[in-house]
């Protein structure tokens, strides 16, 4: 539900922002405390998305690395760096997200992989899951999807 137009009354404008959704978002951003040090790789060709996804993860205490294309993601994993979680966009430069996911899984990597995309349809979902991601969501990455995954990885 969109906020109502301001009434001109200062207190009610403030109420619009402090009630409901804002409080819930704040709660989701602070409600999880990780017991273990988790690491995540963010693979997204878009700078805005990559920065935000890494920031969101770091707000939960997750250590992150970011790369902007599929080839670098595969190379990083092949070099032996391990992550608890890989968040990977479907459409990537150089090597797309589907192929990068397949190659990462072919290396025997079993960590949690979360596939993200800007525009999801059933065919995209099926293709990404078939390539090897465990979870598929439409952007933006938000706490409601991320928190349960982090809890699971943390053994909570």
């Amino acid at each position: 539900m969109a906020p109502t137009l301001p009434s001109g009354d200062q207190a009610s404008d403030q109420d619009n922002w402090d009630n409901g959704r804002l409080a819930r978002k704040r709660q989701l951003l602070t409600e999880i405390v990780l017991r273990n040090r988790l690491t995540a790789l963010v693979v997204d060709g878009d700078t805005t998305c990559r920065v935000l996804e890494q920031l969101l993860l770091r707000s939960y205490g997750v250590q992150t690395q970011g790369v902007d294309n599929g080839r670098d993601a595969v190379a990083l994993i092949a070099s032996g760096v391990k992550f608890n979680l890989i968040i990977i966009d479907m459409i990537l430069p150089v090597l797309n997200g589907l192929e990068a996911t397949r190659q990462i899984r072919d290396m025997g990597v079993h960590c949690k992989m979360l596939g993200v995309t800007a525009c999801s349809g059933e065919s995209e979902r099926q293709a990404f899951l078939a390539a090897g991601v465990d979870v598929f969501i439409e952007k933006p990455l938000d706490p409601e999807h991320l928190v349960p995954i982090l809890r699971e990885l943390d053994g909570q």
Partner: protein, 156 residues
């Protein structure tokens, strides 16, 4: 009666945000952005949004350039650009821009050049409107901080 400078400016910020939400320009994802801002990164929101502006303007220029090609055939590349703009727009809560991208993608999927050009005009207009309003928001917020108000996230 309105209070001191910071209080009046805070009301102005809330009023502008309410307007942007009510008009469907922004959605709740923008609130999440605000929640990621804290004392250690007081200008986080404006910094991320400025990244979004820089990247978006490149994408829009490229899209216009691609659509103006005499023999347009690279709809796949157009689709990739649209996808990227859609993802970044949804990540910062730029709801209207994101929704126009959906229409753009539909035209591009049909290889409809006229349709694409028409939607691109709408997109450029809506993007400019968003940019102007967010600049206005950040200006007021900056004035509020200078006047002695507390920065994001706004506390009771």
């Amino acid at each position: 009666m309105l209070g001191s400078g910071p209080d009046r400016l805070r009301a102005d910020v809330n009023r502008l945000l309410a307007f942007l939400f009510h008009q469907g320009i922004l959605d709740e994802q923008f609130l999440q952005l605000q929640q990621l801002q804290d004392e250690s990164s007081p200008n986080f929101v404006s910094q991320v949004v400025n990244i979004y502006f820089q990247e978006s303007e490149k994408l829009l220029r490229n899209l216009r350039s691609l659509l103006m090609e005499r023999k347009l055939s690279d709809y796949k590349n157009i689709g990739i650009h649209i996808n990227q703009l859609m993802g970044s727009s949804s990540s910062i809560g730029a709801k209207r821009v994101r929704n126009v991208c959906v229409a753009f993608r539909a035209a591009s999927d049909q290889n409809n050049r006229t349709g694409c050009l028409r939607v691109l005009e709408v997109l450029e207009h809506d993007y400019c409107f968003l940019k102007n309003k967010l600049h206005e928001l950040f200006q007021i917020e900056q004035q509020r901080i200078l006047a002695g108000g507390v920065g994001y996230p706004m506390q009771n």
